[in-house]
């Protein structure tokens, strides 16, 4: 219960940090070896041998595998470039910046590995994005996180973002979800 509360509070603070555009502070929430991945998602044929069963339309099979180019596959150096770039005056896609609001729900602890000091957590997100007047978009998806405990709270060691789109209808995925 306490763990659940602590993780939810961590996510809310993180979301507020990003909505407040404190990208450099957000970088501090990442581990050195962080993996940040958005796999592609595509409409595929159902898996015929599994017809009639829950495996027939498995979400995982719609997601691009490791050999495919993900929509994003960032490590700390690239995430750092993105965060710093977003604060540069000549980052034309982000100056003026988008107005964003992140909603994090369905926080579910999947696995708590006390020995490794890591927790696997699932959560859903909605992200409202507004830029250039009335250019408004709503993103939705799931985050599959691996959080690592540190002396002063959690750090994100892995985040895999499962989008609900096959065709991305918002103008950019160069955001932090």
């Amino acid at each position: 219960m306490e763990q659940q509360h602590a993780i939810e509070q961590f996510y809310y603070r993180e979301a507020r940090m990003l909505d407040d555009r404190r990208f450099l502070a957000w970088l501090e929430l990442l581990t050195e070896d962080v993996r940040y991945v958005i796999p592609t998602r595509h409409i595929r044929l159902g898996h015929l041998p599994a017809r009639g069963g829950d495996e027939f339309h498995l979400v995982e099979r719609e997601l691009g595998g490791a050999e495919e180019a993900a929509l994003r596959e960032d490590r700390l150096p690239l995430l750092t470039i993105r965060a710093k770039r977003a604060l540069a005056p000549n980052a034309w896609a982000e100056n003026p910046p988008a107005r964003t609001r992140r909603f994090i729900t369905n926080v579910e602890i999947e696995d708590d590995d006390a020995c490794a000091g890591e927790v696997r957590v699932l959560s859903n997100f909605m992200l409202s994005y507004s830029r250039h007047g009335a250019d408004n978009h709503l993103y939705s998806g799931q985050r599959q996180d691996r959080l690592r405990r540190s002396e002063d709270g959690f750090r994100i060691a892995e985040r895999r973002i499962v989008l609900d789109w096959n065709v991305v209808t918002a103008p950019t995925l160069a955001l932090f979800f």
Binding site: H42, I43, E67, E68, R85, N90, V167, T172, A174
Partner: protein, 428 residues
């Protein structure tokens, strides 16, 4: 004064009307006269290895299924049931032996032939199934593994249509001993932009790099290299190839594919060895001019683009004058070990695709350009395409017409060809 549709591009193409990007009537003619006639990129042969493999795509806004049929031949069918029009395939790629239309279950083969009408046994008069196959795209041809289709049965053969562009395509697509393969499904995203802008950008607008992308590229050596050795080639009007022609004495490691911005030194020893070896083999096979060429961006009229250094094929699918669905595929040397492919991935998706460091800036610029094109009272303020006009010339080594990397002749030639196509459509 409002210009006529045959008058949107000035005679020397240094001026292009904003309406070329926004006018509904122009868009209708583009669909008929350009997308209904030209060679359009469909798929890469590596995506259709076996009989029964298929992908779905679009020719303009028309949905098509590209498949390897039972006889091993690649064909393209319009994805619309001949009974009442329902799409017979609702997925993006896969392997199948037939397509079953959801509505009344008419069943089509992987070559589009109508195989079965379930209701046929219940009626008396026979139905001529041979006439009711899916509409076939009449011309499908490949060059270097790139499959194109055309709705015009009389279109010039693909090789002739590509003309001198083949030289530049060869520089990449014939570079690798085992060829190239497309990995995975494309990235797809929608932008509030006209389809021609992404195309124009990659036909040769390398000049925007240090400016639009200043926050990422500013001060990099790459810019100096492009300014010193860069050429905007127009192999044929409408096609484009922005490249660098390096001095002959450039060391192998700096002229090889994979050596952008000194990035090669960040690769593992295995990947570096692979890249060097690939370059050596390529130079033996393709010769001394190709040995000195490092590509940048390519375009094949009307809406196929290729980024040489970042290994990505892209198609700008129109969705009305103010919307585009942009598709972007990642290409790899087919013979590269898995670990090498993994390392090369970031060269593509770190920079390009909807989440790419550079492409987020291009995407925004294209949408903003459309907004600018759509504002009122601007008919008498066409866009200026005159940079470098008259400075282009023939180059002794490079096929086509050469301009410096800031010369906009690639766009002038594109819009002249476009205007010609549009005007013929208007006259009919």
């Amino acid at each position: 004064m409002t210009r006529g549709i045959e008058d949107l591009v000035s005679a020397d193409a240094t001026l292009v009307s904003r309406r070329a990007f926004t006018d509904e009537a122009v868009y209708k003619i583009e669909k008929e006269r350009i997308f209904g006639r030209a060679w359009l990129y469909l798929a890469h042969e590596s995506e259709l290895k076996a009989s029964g493999d298929f992908v779905t795509t679009y020719m303009g806004e028309t949905p098509v299924i590209v498949a390897r049929g039972p006889d091993g031949r690649i064909n393209a069918s319009v994805n619309s049931c001949t009974h009442r029009g329902v799409a017979v395939c609702h997925v993006e790629r896969g392997h199948a032996s037939r397509f079953i239309c959801p509505y009344h279950n008419w069943t089509f083969g992987m070559d589009g032939r109508l195989l079965a009408i379930p209701q046929q046994g219940k009626i008396e008069r026979p139905v001529d199934k041979a006439r009711l196959g899916l509409r076939q795209v009449p011309r499908v041809e490949s060059y270097a593994g790139l499959i194109f289709g055309s709705f015009d049965p009389d279109v010039a053969p693909l090789e002739q249509y590509l003309g001198n562009m083949r030289f530049y395509l060869d520089n990449y697509f014939a570079r690798f001993a085992d060829g190239v393969e497309v990995v995975g499904a494309p990235h797809k995203w929608r932008l509030a932009a006209n389809w021609k802008l992404p195309v124009e950008n990659q036909l040769g607008d390398v000049g925007h790099g240090p400016f639009l992308h200043g926050a990422v590229l500013g001060g990099r050596d790459a810019i100096a290299e492009i300014e010193a050795y860069g050429f905007n080639m127009v192999p044929e009007p409408g096609h484009g190839a922005a490249i660098r022609l390096l001095p002959p004495e450039t060391p192998l490691a700096s002229r090889m594919w994979g050596s952008e911005n000194g990035s090669a030194s960040a690769f593992s020893a295995e990947t570096q060895a692979f890249l060097l070896d690939t370059q050596r083999q390529m130079e033996d096979r393709l010769g001394s001019v190709h040995a000195r060429i490092k590509g940048l961006t390519y375009g094949v009229y009307p809406n196929f683009s290729f980024l040489w250094a970042n290994s990505t094929i892209r198609v700008s699918h129109p969705r009305g004058p103010g919307k585009v669905e942009y598709w972007s595929w990642w290409v790899v040397p087919a013979g590269a070990p898995e670990s090498v492919k993994r390392e090369l991935q970031g060269v593509y998706n770190g920079f390009f695709g909807p989440g790419g460091l550079l492409e987020q800036e291009d995407s925004d610029a294209w949408a903003q350009q459309y907004a600018g094109s759509a504002i009122d009272y601007m008919d008498d303020h066409p866009y200026y395409y005159g940079l470098g006009a008259g400075e282009e010339e023939v180059h002794p080594l490079l096929p086509g017409v050469a301009g410096s990397c800031y010369n906009e002749h690639y766009a002038r030639q594109f819009y002249l060809r476009w205007q010609r196509d549009i005007a013929e459509g208007a006259a009919r």
